[in-house]
Amino acid sequence: MTKLNSNIPGGPIKDKWTNHKANINVVSPANKRKLDIIIVGTGLAGASAASSLAELGYNVKLFCIQDSPRRAHSIAAQGGINAAKNYQNDNDSVYRLFYDTVKGGDYRAREANVYRLAEVSGSIIDQCVAQGVPFARDYGGLLDNRSFGGVLVSRTFYARGQTGQQLLLGAYSALNRQIGKGSVKMYNRHEMLDVVTIDGKARGIITRNLVTGEIERHGAHAVVIGSGGYGNVFFLSTNAMNSNTSAAWQIYKKGAMFANPCFTQIHPTCIPVHGEQQSKLTLMSESLRNDGRIWVPKKMEDVEKLRKKEIRPADIKEEDRDYYLERRYPAYGNLVPRDVASRAAKERCDAGFGVNETGKAVFLDFATAINRLGKDVIEARYGNLFQMYEKITDDNPYETPMQIYPAIHYTMGGTWVDYNLMTTVPGLYSIGEANFSDHGGNRLGASALMQGLADGYFVLPYTIGDYLSNEIQTPKIDTERPEFKEAEEAVKQKITKLINNNGKKSVDSIHKELGKIMWDHVGMARNEAGLKEAIDQIQELKKDFWTNVVVPGTSDEFNQELEKAIRLADFIELGDLMARDALNRSESCGGHFREESCTPDGEAQRKDDEFAYVSVWEHKGEKEEPALHKEELKFEEVELKQRSYK
């Protein structure tokens, strides 16, 4: 327990960040020029951190696996970004945003971090507007807001259905300015394969140039990981195909502990899987539930006829439909939070009422809304989403109900960090979705963008200075040191092993197996027996991978199969840790639902007396089991309550 010091400043919660900033050290401009910072990942967090740090005068080396920083998966966020601006005069405040986030996270987030997040949220909007982000505006020329994710105020800023894209392009533009000036050195198509620590401090990384296959060493006074979440452990998720956990996993193996790996978010409104050839799932904005009604047939005979396409959904009479969310949760109806809606869909489909051939889909029906409001109104609200749905499924949602099913969407867990966003390895930081800090057991809609940018623009640039102020005497990091050589050697050996393995199974086929294990046992509902089985199966799969995988081509060329193989090796190990964490946390909490821990009517039951802590896992070596540490969560500002949506 001694290793974990969250470094939360003292004093009242509203003064903590102000006082902390006043008390931490800063680096002089002359010294900043001498300090190098490596940042891995160019999403909202990485790009905003890189540009802000370069503006301050540090030398930044920035790495991304795609051909441009703009491709990072932040680009795909649709809905919006929260900020406690109270522009709508609806009594929003920093405290209310803080409270909603802690409550929405099912009381498993660190209060001080969340309060700081709410505190800087307004500055994010100002910053983005100044960068030329074209947020939606009303006719008076003021910024427009909408309500999002079942909160009581309108605090979500948005740019059509492409808010993530616009915010990322804003950060990307700031970044471009610094790259143009030479203060950020950009490494596109480079993948970090290991972190190098010297005397316990992070001092650099080993990368692979994805075009030439060259293994490179890069040294710096501090290393920042902003590589995103690990949803692709499930193979099918709404994450981008190349989103991976390798950077986060390599630092875990070098001593940066991993927190709450079992906290994954499942989004209820995704387009269902069409078959075995599916490679990725597409999210439909949550806003659809504002007007759509979710149902399945009441009678099994109707379900069977639907699957055989003998009847159309519209042929099923009103009294033969089960609007199960409205039935189970009369107060919130179709607007229950993401985790509740997802589990309810799974419950109906598991009971055999799934409406498509695979039995894994429910209807999201707009007929009532179209009758009430007219087709024009629905088109104005959701036209682009309906169009996207039709492009993918070839069904017209104006005429027939959409089919939806839950899918993995976001991971709240991640590298453990203290209040300064530093991991358990000195000089190694983790920002954005890659860390665990702000969302607890469940993330609210429109909060991911907020957190990524808060970390990158307004938190890390301050806190990293405190650490670096003690590094001003450290000369440029010498990458000829034995620590770098060893790390490079290890990476090369791993690659050689994979290339020479010459097995029979493709990387994707093994990844699909992992995804099935994870979805079946570590998915929407988990239980002890299933989790234990998952741990065994993953161990088997790991062996299978290292004996039977085939990676065509060579290591010194552009080789996408090799890239995938390296990432899958890490996903398999992470899957194991997720199952262990889920097994340990025998409560239901946020996105983590343990079947053993529910109320008599089947709702999630949190156990605050036993589990009001962050599970922090320490790597103990390849052969050893990971060790669990606990960061106790103290709630001084909010009272812990059981969520109810009845």
């Binding site: 802000s52 503006e55 795609q66 051909d67 441009s68 703009r70 491709r71 998966h73 680009i75 795909a76 522009y87 909007i125 100002d126 910053q127 507007v129 100044a130 960068q131 030329g132 074209p134 947020f135 505006r137 009303d138 006719y139 020329g141 003021l142 740019a159 894209q165 616009q166 533009s173 700031a174 471009n176 300015r177 790259i179 143009g180 950009m186 596109n188 981008a240 195909m241 069409h274 078959g275 050839q277 599916q278 490679s279 990725k280 597409t282 999210l283 492009k391 499924t393 070839d394 307004f458 493709s506 994707d508 086929s509 085939v550 065509p552 081509g553 060329e557 552009f558 996408q560 199969e561």
Partner: protein, 247 residues
């Protein structure tokens, strides 16, 4: 569905490339185009051959990574979609599908269907930003922006930087890409002070990198997966002229 896939294979930037034709069977019409390529690659791996390299990432039409020239058109036969959103139901059973990489001197081939679009990055470095530092900016509502202007800026800002405009333009011109950025910022008060300078620098960089000139064929707009209008090119031209007149 059964298809013949005629695809460009090229070992690396220096190697000489050529077409290979593969037969592929039992593709679901509900599969996306890239899922069809996944199946092809799985098949090639099982046959002990090297899979086809192609760029892709988000597979929901927003990251701009996918970049295939299919049957003579950028992003294939459907309109307003990226390759990843193109579905196999747009093809006929038994059809031969020709897949080529983006072709432009400024986008050299890295491998097979993967090209190097770093030239776009360099154009952005030369002026694709508003010169503000983090912090010290006015309140978001301090400057009113008419809704029409914000909407028009958003239309331009929807560019995903995929390069379809360059790929489809008979001149390999990057004008639509440059115009989208210049026009977005020129339409907003935050970007106005540098509008002319930005246009001049970005156009100069584009020319320097070997992209062709714009002859207003409008092909870029027709193939742009985000439907970005060439009216933004007219705005770029205005800003560019302003900069030239000031010089």
């Amino acid at each position: 569905m059964n298809l013949k896939i005629k695809v460009w294979r090229q070992k690396n930037a220096k190697a000489k490339g050529g077409f290979e034709t593969y037969d592929i069977k039992d593709v679901s019409p509900d599969s996306s185009f890239l899922e069809m390529l996944d199946i092809l690659n799985e098949q090639l791996i099982n046959e002990g051959k090297e899979p086809v390299a192609f760029d892709h990432d988000c597979r929901e039409g927003i990251c701009g990574m996918c970049s295939l020239f299919i049957n003579g058109r950028a992003h294939g036969p459907d309109d307003d979609v990226t390759t990843c959103q193109l579905h196999m139901r747009k093809f006929k059973d038994g059809e031969t599908v020709t897949i080529e990489p983006w072709r432009s001197g400024a986008f050299p081939v890295i491998k097979d269907l993967v090209v190097d679009r770093n030239a776009f990055e360099k154009i952005m470095h030369s002026g694709g930003f508003v010169s503000v530092n983090t912090g010290g900016v006015p309140d978001g509502n301090a400057i009113l922006i008419p809704k029409e202007d914000a909407d028009e800026a958003m239309d331009a800002a929807a560019c995903i930087g995929c390069g379809a405009c360059v790929a489809t333009c008979k001149n390999s011109s990057a004008m639509l890409f440059v115009a989208a950025k210049v026009s977005q910022f020129a339409k907003l008060p935050q970007g106005k002070p540098e509008a002319a300078r930005r246009a001049r620098n970005m156009v100069a960089k584009m020319d320097e990198l070997g992209f062709g000139g714009c002859t207003n064929t409008g092909a870029c707009e027709a193939e742009c997966p985000k439907g970005i209008s060439i009216s933004h090119i007219a705005r770029l031209n205005r800003e560019y002229l302003k900069a030239k007149i000031k010089e």
